[in-house]
């Protein structure tokens, strides 16, 4: 197979493309479930509280942390994609921007995880 000259294949941008798809799919299916669980407020307060109660268990607490991680990655990589499409500077520096996305991800998760896991594992 002839290989076209590329800035992309096998590099940061390609891996980020995979991350973007995987996180997008995960968030989409969570969203379906999340609207359904919230819809339980129309059934009864008891039904909603019971199901939401299970979200406060350690297992779901970790799943939620994973979802927040997926959303943060998808969000900032999405902004990177827009920037790369829009500005030649960003196109030239798309690899650097991948590392900027990971940097923002690490900072935000470092802020979020202690708070969230403290609520999940330390609570009541």
């Amino acid at each position: 197979m002839p290989s076209t000259p590329t800035l992309y294949r096998g590099h940061e941008g390609m891996w980020m493309w995979i991350v973007h798809r995987a996180t997008g799919v995960a968030v989409f299916f969570f969203l379906l479930v999340h609207v359904l669980d919230t819809a339980l407020v129309r059934v009864s307060p008891e039904a909603y509280n019971q199901v939401i109660g299970s979200y406060k268990t350690p297992l779901y607490g970790l799943v939620e942390a994973g979802l927040v991680a997926a959303i943060v990655l998808h969000a900032f990589n999405g902004l990177r994609i827009i920037a790369v499409d829009q500005w030649t500077w960003a196109l030239r520096h798309q690899k650097l921007l991948v590392w900027v996305v990971w940097g923002i991800f690490v900072v935000l998760m470092a802020g979020f995880l202690p708070r969230h896991l403290g609520n999940v594992f330390g609570g009541e």
Partner: protein, 151 residues
């Protein structure tokens, strides 16, 4: 085999998209930017402020949806996120579903799921009753229901 590297980006090519695909391409980007603001606020308010995930129960939802701002916030988030997700998933169907039949079936399922979730979510937000009669008051937002004269 490693591909040879370019030192400069190739010149941009004009892509040809049908008007519908072009509209969705723009929508995906515009909705993406709006969703970043809407969802990060949602996550910060629900999972970081107050007691985080521990505070979320029926009374918490009742307190939020007592305000039209949060109702419209959540409605906008619901519609944009579902359409953004639907369009993203349809890119994947186009890329990975190999037969015309599987593309048609998956697209129909995707469209149906999106429509059902948007309609259901919208009804839930705007027909929500914060103080249903017969509910155990300990599960309700007592100050709100007293203010509404329902407790």
């Amino acid at each position: 085999m490693a591909a040879p590297e370019l030192s400069q980006p190739l010149p941009r090519t004009r892509r040809r998209l049908t008007p519908a695909l072009r509209w969705w391409w723009i929508f995906q980007r515009v909705s993406g930017v709006v969703l970043v603001a809407l969802i990060f606020t949602h996550l910060f308010y629900n999972l970081v402020l107050g007691d985080g995930v521990s505070q979320i129960d029926f009374g918490f939802v009742a307190g939020k949806w007592a305000s039209p701002v949060w109702q419209w916030w959540d409605f906008t988030m619901l519609v944009l996120a579902m359409l953004h997700g639907m369009n993203g998933m349809s890119y994947l169907i186009g890329d990975y579903a190999s037969t015309k039949r599987s593309r048609t079936t998956l697209s129909a399922l995707l469209g149906a799921a999106t429509a059902i979730i948007i309609v259901l979510g919208t009804l839930v937000i705007f027909t929500f009753d914060p103080c249903p009669s017969g509910a155990d008051p300990q599960n309700l937002n007592v100050p709100l229901c007293q203010e509404l004269g329902k407790l």
